[in-house]
């Protein structure tokens, strides 16, 4: 499988220095709202509304936004755990938007997920050995001995002792459980790993260990990450590029340095101003947003952010701005630019 894929990749590589691994085009995921007589669909929650971005091979794209803005839905839709309503998902040049059944199962070897909740993401009735070996059993013909060696190797790579093999999930701490989840995701040597808030459920002291582990593994296994988080400092530590989401839309996407040095979108500016400062003497201008996030079932007309934007103009409620490249590699969706 791997060999074939790399061949395909090298054909595509022509010209560009880094090939695009994941290409998301106008992705939409709507959840139907059922109600009324005979449970008809009466409305849609627009969890992901017209999202487009690319991830290049070997890079880490961070995706930030507040709770409920569609980050996790984006991740799950890309993995095809949810069915996209519209748009295209191209993985390594292959359209995976509408494949299903065994074709989808085979494709899943190349993209894996690290889940948010280390307690709910491990099957309580399986031992660690079973959990980590299961993806291998699904796809690879291996003898029992090879399987065990492979699992022990994976466990040591994520920093777990070999004794963990026979233990059960409940015998571990949150950080260790997250390591088990990472080992499971790595078992098939995927190209892309979507990390859905992998550290938000962990103690701060453990967070950095897991983040550094993810970084080490990226080099070792030649991984590409889509890193979803709501913690800006975590994203800054991890990402090469960062996308900011608001109400199912991507409002700004730029390189790490560019975004933090000069956030362009008013929403990004507000987010960055909210990062706690380690030096208490340092004064800063905190931008406090007014009001609540509008319901994604009935998003505002025009720019989704205009209801809370301190710089909103009249036309903001009429025109929905598209992502525009303002500076090289720095895209923003705002009529101010």
């Amino acid at each position: 499988m791997n060999k074939i894929e790399t061949k395909k990749g090298s054909i595509q590589k022509k010209g560009t220095d880094k090939e695009t691994l994941l290409d998301i085009q106008n992705l939409k995921t709507y959840y139907p709202v059922k109600g009324g007589f005979l449970k008809r669909t009466i409305a849609h929650v627009k969890a992901v509304d017209d999202l487009s971005f690319q991830i290049k091979k070997g890079e880490t794209l961070g995706l930030v936004g507040e709770s409920g803005c569609g980050k996790s839905t984006t991740g799950r839709t890309i993995l095809r755990l949810l069915k996209p309503t519209d748009g295209k998902i191209l993985f390594g040049g292959k359209d995976i938007t509408n494949i299903s059944g065994s074709e989808l199962r085979r494709a899943r070897q190349d993209f894996q997920m690290v889940f948010q909740d280390p307690y709910a993401s491990l099957n309580p009735t399986q031992s660690v050995g079973d959990i980590v070996s299961e993806p291998l059993k699904n796809f690879k013909k291996m003898s029992k001995k090879e399987l065990k060696e492979e699992v022990l190797d994976l466990l040591s790579r994520v920093g777990l002792p070999p004794e963990a093999y026979h233990k059960y999930g409940h015998e571990f701490s949150g950080g260790q459980r997250q390591r088990i989840g990472i080992a499971r995701a790595l078992a098939l040597k995927p190209k892309l790993i979507i990390a859905d808030e992998p550290v938000s459920a962990l103690d701060v002291s453990v967070q950095s260990q897991v983040l550094n582990l993810l970084k080490e593994l990226q080099g070792e296994f030649d991984l590409t990450y889509l890193f979803i988080a709501h913690d800006l400092s975590v994203v800054k530590h991890m990402s090469d590029r960062i996308g900011v989401m608001y109400l199912g839309n991507l409002v700004e996407i730029a390189t790490n340095e560019s975004l933090y040095a000069e956030p362009l979108h008013p929403y990004t500016q507000a987010l960055i101003s909210a990062i706690p400062e380690t030096d208490p003497k340092k004064r800063k201008n905190r931008i406090v947003l007014q009001g609540d996030v509008p319901s994604p079932q009935n998003p505002p007309s025009g720019c989704p952010f205009h209801t809370r934007c301190p710089m909103a103009k009249e036309e903001c409620s009429k025109i929905k701005p598209a992502l525009k490249e303002v500076k090289p590699g720095h895209h923003v969706a705002c009529i101010l630019y």
Binding site: L81, Q112, F115, Y168, L188
Partner: protein, 301 residues
């Protein structure tokens, strides 16, 4: 979160590498009432199975010279109105009652689990279809249906298997509903998404990831079903619509008490099956209760 860490500390003291089922087994073995009940139930089963080796009396032979004998002497528990040995019929009756109970429970749990887990896992249209079918089965008038079917099929097929078939066919609805609701709750966990994303087929997700995690509910449900179905068999037997009279069961032994003089003056004919039935049902329920406690992570008895 505080609770979780406290639990973890508790668990760390126990011997390592305990699966959730091993923990449940330990808890169950410590539950005295459940252990006594299991012991009793096991003895009833063993004695019933070994009936031909314990007593040599004929279960069907009518003996007019020995009608309604009081307990004692050759007949330990006396004889019934046809002169048949009550003790012998009690042992053989246990075979039938338990056989009907076990077989029906097995079929009911099997069918209920299949329907419930498929409905719960796929949801949507499949769920709607299967659950409406379940409602249909649940709404069937059980007693009337059993009596009618039993009457129609009697003579064509062996009476015992008709009864087992009919009871099983009409009783799986409750199990299907419970399994479905449990699966619905369980499939929201991220490990199910993880199982799908590592390439498990839907059948494997249900068999390896969902069912083991709802197994505790299914086992508890099985004990309840077992008790209910033994009662159902006895009730039908009492009414005369159970297994044919030629085959003794606890239910049709009880039907002797329909006659006033037997009920008033000859308690040895109907008391033994009544007592053994009651204690058996009680012990099954205690076992179920014990299993429920054992599988509940919050109980620490």
């Amino acid at each position: 979160m505080v609770n979780v860490t406290a639990n973890e500390m508790n668990r760390q003291e126990k011997p390592i590498n305990m699966s959730p089922f091993a923990i449940a087994r330990r808890k169950f073995l410590r539950n005295k009432l459940a252990m006594v009940s299991s012991f009793f139930l096991l003895s009833v089963i063993i004695i019933s199975v070994l009936a031909p080796y314990i007593t040599t009396q004929d279960i069907t032979k009518v003996n007019i010279s020995q009608m309604s004998l009081e307990p004692g002497g050759e007949h330990v528990l006396g004889t019934d109105k046809s002169g048949r040995d009550v003790f012998t019929r009690l042992l053989y009756g246990g075979r039938i009652s338990l056989l009907v109970g076990v077989t029906c429970t097995f079929l009911v749990i099997l069918f209920g689990t299949i329907v419930g887990s498929i409905a719960g896992f796929y949801g949507g249209f499949v769920d709607g279809l299967l659950m409406r079918f379940t409602d249909f089965v649940l709404n069937f008038p059980f007693l009337v249906f059993v009596i009618v079917l039993n009457t129609i099929l009697f003579g064509i097929v062996n009476g015992l298997w008709v009864l087992i078939g009919v009871i099983s066919l009409l009783s799986w609805g409750g199990v299907a509903r419970i399994v479905r609701s449990k699966i619905l709750a369980e499939k929201e966990n991220e490990y199910i998404l993880a199982a799908i994303s590592i390439g498990c087929k839907p059948s494997k997700v249900i068999m390896k990831h969902l069912l083991p995690n709802v197994l505790s509910t299914i086992i508890v449900q099985a004990t309840v079903t077992f008790a209910t179905l033994i009662v159902a068999e006895s009730a039908l037997g009492f009414l005369g619509f159970g297994v044919p009279q030629s085959i003794p069961s606890w239910g049709n032994m009880l039907s002797a008490s329909q006659e006033a003089d037997v009920l008033r003056d000859k308690p040895w004919i109907w008391m033994p099956p009544a007592i053994i039935l009651t204690i058996t049902i009680l012990s099954i329920n205690f076992i179920g209760e014990g299993l429920k406690d054992a599988f509940n992570p919050k109980s620490n008895r």
